[in-house]
């Protein structure tokens, strides 16, 4: 069995071990002991905080394999992106060009540096052990952040986004960066990401990045091809998020051109189709009929826990049957309410 829960101080060593694994697509997961400690402390403080308006909170969830007591995945959500500045991205604008005299009509794409994603809630740091990538636990982990947001709307914005790492070559170079950022920063992609610490809210971005729209047709072919393309490591996250209702295409990352998925919460399946059901104790029998996978989260605020189960369609039901073991894992009892959504 697996459970998703907020990170705890005891997880630091496990996270350090995880960070040692190469995860090229996950820039936002801290890599050093110090940074990991800070991230864990910040998450614990965030879960504990009384929040009226989303601000600098950052919530870090882990996926734990209960049998081995092992951390096999992470996923985070920031309450408000760029909360200590401005979150910069490129907006993918389309300029329609029509010439009546010449009977020409075509669209020109242009990238505009914009701050529209500032104050969105930002999903990040999604990582799941390779062995679990095909399993419903991957979806559970990704979606737990949104289940928490459904239960605690005051902690989050009305809109969410997720930047996914863009494509890089074998040497860690980015064709998109080479065509754009390098001209202004005068440094390699990895160096730039290092100095800026993966952030997108720094004054130096205003100082250095182009303020006028970048006409896409003027970019070299490989840079154009990289726009909105994900690094292979991000494919799982991409698939889970688009299934959730996130949309790509409108924004891309200013550094590597990777896609930024975004959505209003009304467009997200977790928000529109999750149900609040009562817990009843199951008889342990495998139910008859076709089974579907659900994510089930308790409703315990900072003591948030979520699991997946396979059960018959819950549509129209008022209660969900959970075995005593699952009730233990979720720390709920018969009659408690849980939030359920199909994964």
């Amino acid at each position: 069995m697996y459970v998703v829960r907020p990170v705890e101080a005891g997880d630091i060593a496990a996270l350090e071990a995880l960070a040692a694994v190469t995860m090229p697509g996950v820039h936002t997961l801290p890599k050093t002991r110090d940074k990991i400690e800070q991230a864990v402390e910040r998450s614990i403080a965030s879960f504990a905080a009384q929040v009226d308006i989303p601000s600098e909170e950052s919530y870090l969830f882990v996926l734990e394999a209960l049998a081995e007591r092992k951390i096999v995945g992470t996923a985070a959500i920031f309450a408000s992106a760029g909360s200590n500045g401005t979150y910069f991205s490129f907006r993918n604008d389309v300029i329609q060009q029509v010439s009546r005299d010449l009977n020409i009509c075509h669209n020109v794409h242009a990238l505009t540096l914009c701050s529209e994603l500032t104050a969105y809630s930002q999903l990040s740091s999604f990582y799941v052990d390779e062995a679990l990538q095909e399993r419903p636990e991957a979806a559970l982990l990704s979606r737990s952040r949104l289940l928490f947001a459904v239960q605690q709307p005051q902690r989050f914005g009305d809109r969410f986004f997720v930047p996914l790492a863009g494509v890089t070559d074998e040497k860690g170079g980015s064709p998109f960066w080479d065509a754009l950022g390098r001209k202004f920063f005068k440094m390699d992609f990895l160096d730039a990401e290092r100095v800026i610490g993966g952030a997108r809210n720094r004054t130096l971005i205003v100082e250095l990045m182009p303020h006028y729209p970048v006409y896409v047709p003027l970019l070299p072919g490989d840079a154009q091809a990289a726009m909105g393309q994900i690094h292979p490591s991000g494919e799982l996250a991409f698939n889970l998020l688009t299934a959730e209702g996130f949309e790509a295409d409108e924004y891309i990352d200013i550094f590597d051109g990777g896609p930024i998925l975004q959505a209003h919460k009304h467009a997200l399946r977790t928000f529109t189709s999750s149900q609040t059901l009562r817990v009843r104790t199951g008889d342990g029998q495998v139910p008859e009929g076709p089974l579907v996978n659900y994510a089930i989260a308790n409703n315990a605020g900072p003591a948030f826990r979520a699991v997946t189960i396979a059960c018959p369609e819950l549509e129209g039901c008022e209660a969900v049957a959970l075995s005593p073991e699952l009730q233990d894992i979720l720390r709920v009892a018969e009659g408690d309410s849980v939030t359920c959504v199909r994964v």
Partner: protein, 349 residues
């Protein structure tokens, strides 16, 4: 003998036959009887001052008086861009600097502009191949400066000349291939023809209007910004000697440079002098330079402006012109003429 003079009503056929020699690349002088006839009428009205200064188009022809042939043509437009917008790219500088990262990046930037709207324009210079020798080219081109120096009140503060931009050996324009083609999606020569026909509203509709960093362009396009066509290099040097400079304006299609000057800072404005036609005296003879330089001399009559190049030199406000010179200029003893050394004096520094 050659004289450059204001064009007149009788020059239409000669002008047409000249235009058939011009070939592509000069959009203002095409062998089209209707177009040329209209232009000639405007030119005559300009010298007669029956249309306002900004609509004028002063055309000059170089005539070979030995056979009556027209050997060349050139013109000055009173003002550009007042009926159709006149577009250029202006090259500016933007600095991106971050003290935190110790990065300081200076970038050249293209701005689509109509800044040169209202400037007077030197244009339509063509010398028949049979006459490409001696001082003829200089006389033809520089005659316009003498005209401006004589009638500066007819011109705006700024004078410009558009130079044909760089082309590769196959006739393609690297600048157009790197920029314009992405937005026009048609051939360079096709666009050029449309412009010549006055179909210009498409520029506003199709060109990228936001400032562009030159660094976004392919290297071959970057390299030719402000570079002239091989065949245009001598014309550029000649205009630069007269005080025009490339100040960062280029053609939006081929990035050929626009040369420009304040009218008041033209060499002709500073160095040309009025002189009275008078017979040579011993005194003047004694004071004349040992090695006389060729001199441009014009009469001072707007309607029948005429210019020659001569070996006579003005001394103390007088100049001794031969009978032949006087005939070419339609001047007489005692008349006032304007003179300008044909060649630029070397700086004394």
């Amino acid at each position: 003998m050659l004289v450059v003079r204001a064009i007149n009503e009788n020059d239409l056929d000669a002008l047409y036959s000249m235009a058939t020699q011009v070939g592509t690349g000069m959009t203002t002088l095409k062998p089209d009887m209707k177009m040329l006839g209209d232009r000639l009428a405007t030119a005559c009205a300009s010298f007669a001052e029956t249309i306002p200064p900004e609509q004028r188009d002063y055309m000059f022809v170089m005539e070979d008086t030995s056979n009556g042939r027209i050997a060349g043509v050139c013109a000055i437009k009173g003002a550009v861009g007042l009926t159709e917008p006149f577009y250029n790219y202006r090259i500016g500088t933007l600095v991106h600097s971050s003290r935190e990262l110790n990065v300081f990046t200076k970038m050249d930037t293209l701005y689509l502009s109509n800044d040169l709207t209202g400037s007077s324009e030197l244009c339509s210079l063509f010398l028949h191949p049979d006459y490409r020798q001696g001082h003829n080219g200089k006389l033809l081109s520089k005659s316009r400066f003498l005209f401006i120096a004589q009638f500066p009140h007819l011109f705006t503060q700024k004078i410009i000349a558009e130079m044909r931009g760089y082309q590769a050996d196959d006739g393609s324009s690297p600048f157009y291939e790197g920029l314009g083609r992405h937005f026009f999606k048609m051939d360079f020569h096709h666009v050029d023809d449309l412009t010549a026909l006055g179909k210009k509203s498409f520029i506003a509709e199709l060109m990228p209007r936001q400032p562009l960093y030159i660094d976004y362009l392919p290297k071959e396009a970057q390299e030719v910004v402000g570079q002239v066509h091989k065949s245009t290099a001598p014309a550029r040097r000649l205009l630069e000697q007269e005080g025009l400079h490339y100040e960062g304006y280029v053609d939006i299609f081929d990035a050929g440079p626009v040369l420009q000057a304040r009218v008041s800072e033209l060499r002709a404005m500073r160095d040309s002098e009025l002189a009275t036609v008078a017979p040579d005296t011993d005194m003047a003879h004694a004071c004349a330079p040992a090695h006389p330089e060729p001199t441009l001399v014009s009469n001072t009559v707007l309607k029948d402006f005429r210019m020659i190049v001569t070996q006579a030199t003005p001394v103390n406000g007088e100049i001794d012109l031969s009978t032949q010179d006087l005939q070419l200029l339609r001047c007489h003893m005692g008349d006032t003429v304007r003179t300008l050394p044909l060649n630029v004096r070397k700086n004394n520094v």
